[in-house]
Assembly symmetry: C2
Homo-oligomer: 280 residues x 2
Protein backbone atom coordinates (compact mmCIF):
# COMPACT_ATOMS: atom_id res chain seq x y z
CA UNK A 1 0.00 0.00 0.00
CA UNK A 2 1.27 3.41 -0.99
CA UNK A 3 1.10 6.12 1.65
CA UNK A 4 -0.31 9.42 0.36
CA UNK A 5 1.71 12.08 2.14
CA UNK A 6 0.09 15.43 2.79
CA UNK A 7 3.45 17.17 3.00
CA UNK A 8 4.23 16.34 -0.61
CA UNK A 9 0.89 17.68 -1.80
CA UNK A 10 1.32 20.82 0.29
CA UNK A 11 4.87 21.34 -1.02
CA UNK A 12 3.65 21.29 -4.61
CA UNK A 13 0.92 23.78 -3.83
CA UNK A 14 3.47 26.01 -2.13
CA UNK A 15 5.70 25.94 -5.19
CA UNK A 16 2.78 27.02 -7.35
CA UNK A 17 1.95 29.90 -5.02
CA UNK A 18 5.57 31.05 -4.58
CA UNK A 19 5.90 31.02 -8.35
CA UNK A 20 2.86 33.25 -8.72
CA UNK A 21 4.12 35.54 -5.95
CA UNK A 22 7.11 36.44 -8.14
CA UNK A 23 4.72 38.32 -10.43
CA UNK A 24 2.93 39.93 -7.51
CA UNK A 25 3.64 43.46 -6.39
CA UNK A 26 2.62 44.95 -3.09
CA UNK A 27 2.49 43.73 0.48
CA UNK A 28 2.08 40.03 1.13
CA UNK A 29 -1.62 39.14 1.51
CA UNK A 30 -2.93 39.11 5.08
CA UNK A 31 -5.10 36.40 6.62
CA UNK A 32 -7.27 37.32 9.61
CA UNK A 33 -7.91 34.38 11.93
CA UNK A 34 -10.94 35.11 14.07
CA UNK A 35 -11.09 33.14 17.29
CA UNK A 36 -13.48 33.39 20.22
CA UNK A 37 -12.21 31.74 23.41
CA UNK A 38 -9.11 29.64 23.99
CA UNK A 39 -10.07 26.09 23.00
CA UNK A 40 -6.91 23.96 22.67
CA UNK A 41 -8.08 22.67 19.24
CA UNK A 42 -8.55 26.22 18.00
CA UNK A 43 -5.18 27.32 19.35
CA UNK A 44 -3.43 24.39 17.75
CA UNK A 45 -5.18 24.93 14.39
CA UNK A 46 -4.37 28.63 14.58
CA UNK A 47 -0.68 27.96 15.20
CA UNK A 48 -0.57 25.55 12.26
CA UNK A 49 -2.37 27.96 9.96
CA UNK A 50 -0.13 30.89 10.92
CA UNK A 51 3.00 28.85 10.32
CA UNK A 52 1.70 27.71 6.96
CA UNK A 53 0.82 31.25 5.86
CA UNK A 54 4.34 32.39 6.75
CA UNK A 55 5.90 29.49 4.85
CA UNK A 56 3.86 30.54 1.79
CA UNK A 57 5.17 34.09 2.16
CA UNK A 58 1.91 35.47 3.52
CA UNK A 59 1.01 37.29 6.69
CA UNK A 60 -1.50 36.15 9.29
CA UNK A 61 -2.93 37.89 12.29
CA UNK A 62 -5.01 36.42 15.08
CA UNK A 63 -8.06 38.37 16.23
CA UNK A 64 -8.90 36.75 19.55
CA UNK A 65 -12.01 37.56 21.57
CA UNK A 66 -13.03 36.45 25.06
CA UNK A 67 -15.29 33.36 25.22
CA UNK A 68 -18.13 35.35 26.77
CA UNK A 69 -18.17 38.30 24.33
CA UNK A 70 -21.75 39.47 23.67
CA UNK A 71 -23.16 38.86 20.18
CA UNK A 72 -23.54 42.53 19.23
CA UNK A 73 -20.04 43.41 20.40
CA UNK A 74 -18.52 40.50 18.48
CA UNK A 75 -20.41 41.36 15.33
CA UNK A 76 -19.25 44.97 15.47
CA UNK A 77 -15.65 43.87 15.79
CA UNK A 78 -16.13 41.29 13.05
CA UNK A 79 -17.59 43.87 10.71
CA UNK A 80 -14.48 46.02 11.17
CA UNK A 81 -12.20 43.10 10.23
CA UNK A 82 -14.50 42.24 7.33
CA UNK A 83 -14.34 45.79 5.96
CA UNK A 84 -10.59 46.26 6.53
CA UNK A 85 -8.98 46.60 3.08
CA UNK A 86 -5.72 45.35 4.61
CA UNK A 87 -7.34 41.97 5.27
CA UNK A 88 -7.45 39.82 2.12
CA UNK A 89 -9.03 36.76 3.68
CA UNK A 90 -10.76 35.64 6.86
CA UNK A 91 -10.87 32.34 8.69
CA UNK A 92 -13.42 32.07 11.50
CA UNK A 93 -12.64 29.23 13.90
CA UNK A 94 -15.88 27.30 14.38
CA UNK A 95 -18.01 26.52 16.26
CA UNK A 96 -18.51 29.92 17.87
CA UNK A 97 -19.87 30.12 21.43
CA UNK A 98 -23.64 29.81 21.72
CA UNK A 99 -24.40 33.46 22.44
CA UNK A 100 -23.08 34.37 19.00
CA UNK A 101 -25.40 34.00 16.03
CA UNK A 102 -23.17 31.96 13.70
CA UNK A 103 -25.53 32.08 10.76
CA UNK A 104 -25.61 35.88 10.98
CA UNK A 105 -21.80 35.87 10.91
CA UNK A 106 -21.83 33.53 7.89
CA UNK A 107 -24.27 35.87 6.14
CA UNK A 108 -22.10 38.91 7.02
CA UNK A 109 -18.71 37.68 5.89
CA UNK A 110 -17.62 39.16 2.59
CA UNK A 111 -17.88 36.20 0.19
CA UNK A 112 -14.64 37.34 -1.48
CA UNK A 113 -12.78 37.04 1.84
CA UNK A 114 -14.58 33.92 3.01
CA UNK A 115 -11.70 31.48 2.50
CA UNK A 116 -13.36 28.53 4.24
CA UNK A 117 -16.66 28.81 2.38
CA UNK A 118 -19.07 29.49 5.24
CA UNK A 119 -21.04 32.21 3.43
CA UNK A 120 -24.32 31.15 1.76
CA UNK A 121 -22.96 32.70 -1.45
CA UNK A 122 -19.99 30.32 -1.46
CA UNK A 123 -22.12 27.36 -0.40
CA UNK A 124 -24.46 27.99 -3.32
CA UNK A 125 -21.45 28.20 -5.67
CA UNK A 126 -20.04 24.90 -4.45
CA UNK A 127 -23.50 23.39 -4.85
CA UNK A 128 -23.79 24.79 -8.36
CA UNK A 129 -20.29 23.64 -9.35
CA UNK A 130 -19.17 27.25 -9.82
CA UNK A 131 -15.42 27.32 -9.11
CA UNK A 132 -15.36 31.09 -8.63
CA UNK A 133 -16.32 30.66 -4.97
CA UNK A 134 -14.50 29.10 -2.02
CA UNK A 135 -15.19 25.53 -0.94
CA UNK A 136 -14.48 24.54 2.66
CA UNK A 137 -10.72 23.92 2.80
CA UNK A 138 -10.90 20.38 4.15
CA UNK A 139 -13.27 19.22 1.39
CA UNK A 140 -11.02 20.76 -1.25
CA UNK A 141 -7.94 19.25 0.38
CA UNK A 142 -9.31 15.76 -0.40
CA UNK A 143 -9.51 16.64 -4.09
CA UNK A 144 -6.02 18.18 -3.97
CA UNK A 145 -4.58 14.93 -2.59
CA UNK A 146 -6.25 12.87 -5.32
CA UNK A 147 -5.07 15.23 -8.04
CA UNK A 148 -1.50 15.58 -6.75
CA UNK A 149 -1.12 11.79 -6.78
CA UNK A 150 -2.80 11.64 -10.21
CA UNK A 151 -5.51 9.31 -8.96
CA UNK A 152 -8.26 9.22 -11.62
CA UNK A 153 -11.59 10.52 -10.33
CA UNK A 154 -13.77 10.66 -13.46
CA UNK A 155 -16.09 7.68 -13.70
CA UNK A 156 -14.84 6.26 -10.38
CA UNK A 157 -17.16 5.23 -7.59
CA UNK A 158 -16.52 7.51 -4.64
CA UNK A 159 -18.09 6.82 -1.26
CA UNK A 160 -18.04 9.51 1.41
CA UNK A 161 -18.79 8.55 5.01
CA UNK A 162 -20.20 11.66 6.68
CA UNK A 163 -22.63 14.35 5.56
CA UNK A 164 -21.41 17.45 7.37
CA UNK A 165 -21.66 20.89 5.85
CA UNK A 166 -17.88 21.34 6.10
CA UNK A 167 -16.74 18.07 4.55
CA UNK A 168 -19.21 15.43 3.39
CA UNK A 169 -21.71 17.58 1.53
CA UNK A 170 -19.32 20.01 -0.19
CA UNK A 171 -16.97 17.14 -1.05
CA UNK A 172 -19.84 15.28 -2.71
CA UNK A 173 -20.31 18.31 -4.97
CA UNK A 174 -16.58 18.68 -5.70
CA UNK A 175 -16.26 14.99 -6.62
CA UNK A 176 -19.40 15.17 -8.78
CA UNK A 177 -17.80 18.07 -10.61
CA UNK A 178 -14.80 15.79 -11.25
CA UNK A 179 -17.28 13.28 -12.71
CA UNK A 180 -17.11 10.66 -9.97
CA UNK A 181 -20.22 8.63 -9.20
CA UNK A 182 -20.75 9.77 -5.63
CA UNK A 183 -22.44 8.04 -2.70
CA UNK A 184 -22.91 9.78 0.66
CA UNK A 185 -23.22 7.56 3.76
CA UNK A 186 -23.98 8.45 7.37
CA UNK A 187 -25.06 7.09 10.71
CA UNK A 188 -28.36 5.82 9.27
CA UNK A 189 -26.77 3.92 6.39
CA UNK A 190 -27.67 0.23 6.45
CA UNK A 191 -24.67 -2.15 6.17
CA UNK A 192 -22.09 0.62 5.97
CA UNK A 193 -19.15 -1.79 5.39
CA UNK A 194 -20.85 -3.26 2.29
CA UNK A 195 -21.56 0.18 0.83
CA UNK A 196 -17.98 1.30 1.56
CA UNK A 197 -16.51 -1.80 -0.10
CA UNK A 198 -18.04 -0.63 -3.40
CA UNK A 199 -15.83 2.47 -3.31
CA UNK A 200 -12.85 2.91 -5.57
CA UNK A 201 -12.24 6.12 -3.64
CA UNK A 202 -13.31 5.93 -0.01
CA UNK A 203 -13.38 9.10 2.07
CA UNK A 204 -13.78 8.84 5.83
CA UNK A 205 -15.27 12.02 7.28
CA UNK A 206 -17.42 10.50 9.99
CA UNK A 207 -15.80 12.11 13.00
CA UNK A 208 -15.43 8.78 14.81
CA UNK A 209 -12.01 7.40 15.72
CA UNK A 210 -10.97 4.28 13.77
CA UNK A 211 -14.55 3.64 12.59
CA UNK A 212 -13.42 2.17 9.26
CA UNK A 213 -11.32 -0.98 9.43
CA UNK A 214 -10.24 -3.34 6.68
CA UNK A 215 -13.75 -4.79 6.35
CA UNK A 216 -14.89 -1.43 4.91
CA UNK A 217 -12.32 -1.39 2.15
CA UNK A 218 -12.69 -2.93 -1.30
CA UNK A 219 -9.68 -4.51 -2.97
CA UNK A 220 -7.36 -1.83 -4.28
CA UNK A 221 -9.39 1.13 -3.04
CA UNK A 222 -7.87 4.53 -2.36
CA UNK A 223 -8.64 5.57 1.22
CA UNK A 224 -8.66 9.22 2.29
CA UNK A 225 -8.95 9.91 6.00
CA UNK A 226 -10.34 13.29 7.03
CA UNK A 227 -10.72 12.48 10.73
CA UNK A 228 -8.42 13.57 13.52
CA UNK A 229 -8.76 12.31 17.07
CA UNK A 230 -6.69 11.72 20.15
CA UNK A 231 -7.11 8.11 21.28
CA UNK A 232 -7.11 6.74 24.84
CA UNK A 233 -3.30 6.44 24.76
CA UNK A 234 -2.95 10.10 23.76
CA UNK A 235 -2.02 9.13 20.19
CA UNK A 236 -3.36 10.95 17.15
CA UNK A 237 -5.53 8.82 14.88
CA UNK A 238 -8.12 9.26 12.12
CA UNK A 239 -11.50 7.81 11.20
CA UNK A 240 -9.65 4.91 9.60
CA UNK A 241 -7.90 2.06 11.38
CA UNK A 242 -4.76 2.56 9.31
CA UNK A 243 -2.98 -0.72 10.09
CA UNK A 244 -6.12 -2.72 9.40
CA UNK A 245 -6.66 -1.32 5.87
CA UNK A 246 -3.06 -1.95 4.70
CA UNK A 247 -3.91 -5.34 3.20
CA UNK A 248 -6.86 -4.12 1.14
CA UNK A 249 -6.24 -0.52 0.12
CA UNK A 250 -3.90 0.40 -2.74
CA UNK A 251 -3.23 3.83 -1.26
CA UNK A 252 -4.17 5.66 1.94
CA UNK A 253 -3.53 8.94 3.74
CA UNK A 254 -2.07 8.67 7.25
CA UNK A 255 -3.15 10.64 10.34
CA UNK A 256 -1.27 12.77 11.18
CA UNK A 257 0.55 13.74 7.99
CA UNK A 258 -2.33 13.38 5.55
CA UNK A 259 -5.28 15.59 4.72
CA UNK A 260 -4.75 17.96 7.68
CA UNK A 261 -1.48 19.30 6.24
CA UNK A 262 -3.16 19.92 2.91
CA UNK A 263 -6.11 21.76 4.49
CA UNK A 264 -3.96 24.71 5.57
CA UNK A 265 -2.23 24.68 2.17
CA UNK A 266 -5.67 25.04 0.56
CA UNK A 267 -6.32 27.93 2.94
CA UNK A 268 -3.10 29.57 1.71
CA UNK A 269 -4.09 28.96 -1.90
CA UNK A 270 -7.49 30.54 -1.23
CA UNK A 271 -5.72 33.53 0.33
CA UNK A 272 -3.59 33.80 -2.81
CA UNK A 273 -6.77 33.82 -4.91
CA UNK A 274 -8.49 36.37 -2.66
CA UNK A 275 -5.49 38.68 -3.01
CA UNK A 276 -5.28 38.20 -6.75
CA UNK A 277 -1.93 36.37 -6.59
CA UNK A 278 -3.54 33.35 -8.23
CA UNK A 279 -6.36 33.67 -10.70
CA UNK A 280 -7.83 30.18 -10.39
Amino acid sequence: MEILKGAEVSARMKEQVLDAMKQYEGDPPMLAIVRVGEKPDDLSYERGAMKKMESFGFRARSYAFPEGIPDAEFRNAFQAINADPGVAGILVLLPLPKQIDSSAVAAMIDPKKDLDGISPVNMAKVFAGDASGYAPCTAEAVVEVLKAYEIPISGRRAVIVGRSLVVGKPLSMLLLKENATVTVCHTRTVDLPAVCRQAEILVAAAGKARLLDGSYVGDGAVVIDVGIHVDADGKLCGDVDFESVRERASMATPVPGGVGTVTTAVLAKHLARAAGVLTE
Copy 2:
Protein backbone atom coordinates in the same frame (compact mmCIF):
# COMPACT_ATOMS: atom_id res chain seq x y z
CA MET B 1 -46.43 -3.27 -9.76
CA GLU B 2 -48.29 -0.45 -8.05
CA ILE B 3 -48.69 2.77 -10.01
CA LEU B 4 -47.89 5.89 -7.98
CA LYS B 5 -50.41 8.46 -9.15
CA GLY B 6 -49.45 12.11 -9.00
CA ALA B 7 -53.08 13.18 -8.88
CA GLU B 8 -53.61 11.44 -5.56
CA VAL B 9 -50.55 13.07 -4.04
CA SER B 10 -51.60 16.45 -5.37
CA ALA B 11 -55.16 16.01 -4.05
CA ARG B 12 -53.87 15.39 -0.54
CA MET B 13 -51.65 18.43 -0.68
CA LYS B 14 -54.61 20.49 -1.89
CA GLU B 15 -56.72 19.32 1.03
CA GLN B 16 -54.00 20.40 3.44
CA VAL B 17 -53.76 23.85 1.84
CA LEU B 18 -57.55 24.38 1.60
CA ASP B 19 -57.79 23.44 5.25
CA ALA B 20 -55.20 26.05 6.17
CA MET B 21 -56.93 28.63 3.95
CA LYS B 22 -59.98 28.46 6.25
CA GLN B 23 -57.92 30.20 8.93
CA TYR B 24 -56.53 32.71 6.47
CA GLU B 25 -57.89 36.21 6.16
CA GLY B 26 -57.22 38.57 3.29
CA ASP B 27 -56.98 38.22 -0.45
CA PRO B 28 -55.90 34.88 -1.91
CA PRO B 29 -52.12 34.80 -2.40
CA MET B 30 -50.92 35.81 -5.85
CA LEU B 31 -48.32 33.98 -7.94
CA ALA B 32 -46.42 35.91 -10.60
CA ILE B 33 -45.30 33.75 -13.50
CA VAL B 34 -42.49 35.48 -15.37
CA ARG B 35 -42.07 34.35 -18.94
CA VAL B 36 -39.82 35.68 -21.70
CA GLY B 37 -40.83 34.55 -25.18
CA GLU B 38 -43.52 32.11 -26.29
CA LYS B 39 -41.89 28.68 -26.11
CA PRO B 40 -44.58 25.98 -26.32
CA ASP B 41 -43.15 24.17 -23.24
CA ASP B 42 -43.30 27.39 -21.23
CA LEU B 43 -46.84 28.14 -22.37
CA SER B 44 -47.99 24.65 -21.49
CA TYR B 45 -46.30 24.74 -18.07
CA GLU B 46 -47.77 28.18 -17.42
CA ARG B 47 -51.29 26.98 -18.25
CA GLY B 48 -50.90 24.00 -15.93
CA ALA B 49 -49.51 26.14 -13.11
CA MET B 50 -52.27 28.75 -13.43
CA LYS B 51 -54.97 26.09 -13.37
CA LYS B 52 -53.40 24.47 -10.33
CA MET B 53 -53.16 27.78 -8.44
CA GLU B 54 -56.85 28.42 -9.11
CA SER B 55 -57.79 24.94 -7.94
CA PHE B 56 -55.92 25.62 -4.69
CA GLY B 57 -57.89 28.86 -4.27
CA PHE B 58 -54.95 31.09 -5.24
CA ARG B 59 -54.47 33.71 -7.93
CA ALA B 60 -51.86 33.67 -10.65
CA ARG B 61 -50.83 36.26 -13.16
CA SER B 62 -48.61 35.86 -16.18
CA TYR B 63 -45.98 38.55 -16.79
CA ALA B 64 -44.94 37.90 -20.37
CA PHE B 65 -42.07 39.69 -22.11
CA PRO B 66 -40.94 39.59 -25.73
CA GLU B 67 -38.16 37.09 -26.54
CA GLY B 68 -35.78 39.89 -27.54
CA ILE B 69 -36.21 42.16 -24.50
CA PRO B 70 -32.90 43.81 -23.53
CA ASP B 71 -31.33 42.70 -20.24
CA ALA B 72 -31.62 46.06 -18.47
CA GLU B 73 -35.23 46.51 -19.49
CA PHE B 74 -36.15 43.03 -18.30
CA ARG B 75 -34.38 43.49 -15.02
CA ASN B 76 -36.19 46.76 -14.35
CA ALA B 77 -39.53 45.12 -14.99
CA PHE B 78 -38.53 42.14 -12.89
CA GLN B 79 -37.51 44.35 -10.00
CA ALA B 80 -40.98 45.93 -10.02
CA ILE B 81 -42.66 42.51 -9.81
CA ASN B 82 -40.18 41.46 -7.13
CA ALA B 83 -40.96 44.53 -5.01
CA ASP B 84 -44.74 44.41 -5.52
CA PRO B 85 -46.32 43.67 -2.12
CA GLY B 86 -49.31 42.20 -3.96
CA VAL B 87 -47.10 39.41 -5.33
CA ALA B 88 -46.53 36.68 -2.75
CA GLY B 89 -44.46 34.37 -4.92
CA ILE B 90 -42.62 34.35 -8.23
CA LEU B 91 -41.94 31.62 -10.75
CA VAL B 92 -39.45 32.46 -13.50
CA LEU B 93 -39.75 30.13 -16.49
CA LEU B 94 -36.22 28.97 -17.32
CA PRO B 95 -34.01 29.05 -19.28
CA LEU B 96 -34.20 32.77 -20.08
CA PRO B 97 -32.96 33.99 -23.49
CA LYS B 98 -29.21 34.46 -23.76
CA GLN B 99 -29.16 38.27 -23.63
CA ILE B 100 -30.55 38.13 -20.09
CA ASP B 101 -28.13 37.53 -17.24
CA SER B 102 -29.90 34.64 -15.47
CA SER B 103 -27.54 34.55 -12.53
CA ALA B 104 -28.15 38.25 -11.90
CA VAL B 105 -31.90 37.51 -11.91
CA ALA B 106 -31.37 34.61 -9.49
CA ALA B 107 -29.37 36.90 -7.21
CA MET B 108 -32.06 39.62 -7.43
CA ILE B 109 -35.15 37.56 -6.67
CA ASP B 110 -36.43 38.04 -3.14
CA PRO B 111 -35.57 34.71 -1.46
CA LYS B 112 -38.93 34.84 0.36
CA LYS B 113 -40.78 34.94 -2.97
CA ASP B 114 -38.46 32.55 -4.79
CA LEU B 115 -40.83 29.56 -4.89
CA ASP B 116 -38.70 27.45 -7.22
CA GLY B 117 -35.47 27.91 -5.27
CA ILE B 118 -33.28 29.64 -7.86
CA SER B 119 -31.80 32.21 -5.45
CA PRO B 120 -28.34 31.43 -3.98
CA VAL B 121 -29.90 31.93 -0.54
CA ASN B 122 -32.39 29.12 -1.13
CA MET B 123 -29.77 26.91 -2.78
CA ALA B 124 -27.53 27.29 0.26
CA LYS B 125 -30.46 26.41 2.53
CA VAL B 126 -31.27 23.26 0.57
CA PHE B 127 -27.57 22.37 0.70
CA ALA B 128 -27.48 22.97 4.45
CA GLY B 129 -30.68 21.00 5.06
CA ASP B 130 -32.43 24.14 6.31
CA ALA B 131 -36.15 23.68 5.56
CA SER B 132 -36.92 27.39 5.93
CA GLY B 133 -35.98 27.97 2.29
CA TYR B 134 -37.53 26.79 -0.96
CA ALA B 135 -36.22 23.75 -2.80
CA PRO B 136 -36.81 23.48 -6.54
CA CYS B 137 -40.41 22.23 -6.90
CA THR B 138 -39.59 19.17 -9.00
CA ALA B 139 -36.99 17.89 -6.53
CA GLU B 140 -39.41 18.35 -3.66
CA ALA B 141 -42.20 16.69 -5.65
CA VAL B 142 -40.21 13.44 -5.64
CA VAL B 143 -40.08 13.49 -1.84
CA GLU B 144 -43.82 14.34 -1.67
CA VAL B 145 -44.66 11.28 -3.79
CA LEU B 146 -42.58 9.01 -1.55
CA LYS B 147 -44.11 10.43 1.61
CA ALA B 148 -47.69 10.39 0.36
CA TYR B 149 -47.37 6.68 -0.47
CA GLU B 150 -45.62 6.09 2.86
CA ILE B 151 -42.55 4.65 1.19
CA PRO B 152 -39.78 4.48 3.80
CA ILE B 153 -36.77 6.62 2.91
CA SER B 154 -34.59 6.47 6.02
CA GLY B 155 -31.75 3.98 5.64
CA ARG B 156 -32.80 3.14 2.07
CA ARG B 157 -30.40 3.23 -0.84
CA ALA B 158 -31.50 5.94 -3.22
CA VAL B 159 -29.91 6.32 -6.63
CA ILE B 160 -30.50 9.49 -8.64
CA VAL B 161 -29.66 9.51 -12.34
CA GLY B 162 -28.90 13.12 -13.23
CA ARG B 163 -26.98 15.90 -11.50
CA SER B 164 -28.79 19.04 -12.59
CA LEU B 165 -29.16 22.05 -10.34
CA VAL B 166 -32.96 21.84 -10.55
CA VAL B 167 -33.44 18.14 -9.81
CA GLY B 168 -30.50 15.81 -9.22
CA LYS B 169 -28.40 17.92 -6.86
CA PRO B 170 -31.16 19.40 -4.69
CA LEU B 171 -32.93 16.04 -4.55
CA SER B 172 -29.72 14.42 -3.29
CA MET B 173 -29.76 16.90 -0.40
CA LEU B 174 -33.48 16.39 0.33
CA LEU B 175 -33.09 12.60 0.38
CA LEU B 176 -30.00 12.88 2.60
CA LYS B 177 -32.06 14.94 5.00
CA GLU B 178 -34.57 12.07 5.05
CA ASN B 179 -31.64 9.78 5.96
CA ALA B 180 -31.40 7.86 2.70
CA THR B 181 -27.98 6.66 1.55
CA VAL B 182 -27.75 8.66 -1.66
CA THR B 183 -25.83 7.98 -4.87
CA VAL B 184 -25.76 10.48 -7.74
CA CYS B 185 -25.10 9.11 -11.24
CA HIS B 186 -24.62 10.90 -14.54
CA THR B 187 -23.36 10.54 -18.08
CA ARG B 188 -19.84 9.63 -16.89
CA THR B 189 -20.99 6.86 -14.54
CA VAL B 190 -19.44 3.51 -15.42
CA ASP B 191 -21.94 0.61 -15.75
CA LEU B 192 -24.97 2.74 -14.99
CA PRO B 193 -27.40 -0.23 -15.02
CA ALA B 194 -25.41 -2.02 -12.29
CA VAL B 195 -25.31 1.08 -10.07
CA CYS B 196 -29.04 1.66 -10.62
CA ARG B 197 -29.88 -1.95 -9.72
CA GLN B 198 -28.53 -1.28 -6.22
CA ALA B 199 -31.27 1.28 -5.65
CA GLU B 200 -34.24 0.65 -3.42
CA ILE B 201 -35.47 4.04 -4.58
CA LEU B 202 -34.46 4.87 -8.15
CA VAL B 203 -35.02 8.39 -9.47
CA ALA B 204 -34.66 9.04 -13.18
CA ALA B 205 -33.81 12.69 -13.85
CA ALA B 206 -31.48 12.24 -16.77
CA GLY B 207 -33.43 14.17 -19.38
CA LYS B 208 -33.24 11.31 -21.90
CA ALA B 209 -36.36 9.58 -23.16
CA ARG B 210 -36.76 5.95 -21.98
CA LEU B 211 -33.10 5.74 -20.91
CA LEU B 212 -33.85 3.37 -18.02
CA ASP B 213 -35.34 0.02 -18.94
CA GLY B 214 -35.91 -3.07 -16.80
CA SER B 215 -32.19 -3.88 -16.74
CA TYR B 216 -31.64 -0.77 -14.57
CA VAL B 217 -34.12 -1.83 -11.90
CA GLY B 218 -33.39 -4.02 -8.88
CA ASP B 219 -36.03 -6.45 -7.66
CA GLY B 220 -38.78 -4.61 -5.82
CA ALA B 221 -37.35 -1.13 -6.35
CA VAL B 222 -39.49 1.99 -6.28
CA VAL B 223 -39.02 3.94 -9.52
CA ILE B 224 -39.69 7.66 -9.75
CA ASP B 225 -39.61 9.21 -13.20
CA VAL B 226 -38.89 12.94 -13.41
CA GLY B 227 -38.46 13.07 -17.18
CA ILE B 228 -40.97 14.32 -19.69
CA HIS B 229 -40.48 13.98 -23.43
CA VAL B 230 -42.49 13.73 -26.61
CA ASP B 231 -41.44 10.63 -28.52
CA ALA B 232 -41.27 10.12 -32.29
CA ASP B 233 -44.95 9.09 -32.35
CA GLY B 234 -45.94 12.29 -30.56
CA LYS B 235 -46.61 10.38 -27.33
CA LEU B 236 -45.54 11.69 -23.91
CA CYS B 237 -42.96 9.56 -22.14
CA GLY B 238 -40.45 9.81 -19.32
CA ASP B 239 -36.82 8.85 -18.68
CA VAL B 240 -38.08 5.36 -17.81
CA ASP B 241 -39.31 2.72 -20.22
CA PHE B 242 -42.44 2.15 -18.16
CA GLU B 243 -43.59 -1.13 -19.70
CA SER B 244 -40.12 -2.62 -19.41
CA VAL B 245 -39.79 -1.98 -15.64
CA ARG B 246 -43.16 -3.50 -14.69
CA GLU B 247 -41.68 -6.92 -14.00
CA ARG B 248 -38.96 -5.69 -11.64
CA ALA B 249 -40.22 -2.58 -9.85
CA SER B 250 -42.63 -2.78 -6.91
CA MET B 251 -43.94 0.74 -7.61
CA ALA B 252 -43.43 3.35 -10.29
CA THR B 253 -44.71 6.78 -11.33
CA PRO B 254 -46.17 7.02 -14.84
CA VAL B 255 -45.54 9.82 -17.36
CA PRO B 256 -47.80 11.69 -17.74
CA GLY B 257 -49.70 11.58 -14.47
CA GLY B 258 -46.76 11.21 -12.10
CA VAL B 259 -44.24 13.68 -10.74
CA GLY B 260 -45.30 16.51 -13.08
CA THR B 261 -48.71 16.87 -11.46
CA VAL B 262 -47.08 17.03 -8.05
CA THR B 263 -44.58 19.68 -9.11
CA THR B 264 -47.26 22.34 -9.55
CA ALA B 265 -48.87 21.23 -6.28
CA VAL B 266 -45.51 21.86 -4.56
CA LEU B 267 -45.47 25.28 -6.22
CA ALA B 268 -48.91 25.97 -4.70
CA LYS B 269 -47.73 24.76 -1.31
CA HIS B 270 -44.71 27.05 -1.55
CA LEU B 271 -47.03 29.94 -2.43
CA ALA B 272 -49.09 29.10 0.64
CA ARG B 273 -45.94 29.23 2.76
CA ALA B 274 -44.76 32.50 1.17
CA ALA B 275 -48.13 34.09 1.97
CA GLY B 276 -48.16 32.76 5.51
CA VAL B 277 -51.11 30.41 4.87
CA LEU B 278 -48.94 27.44 5.83
CA THR B 279 -46.18 27.72 8.37
CA GLU B 280 -44.09 24.73 7.33
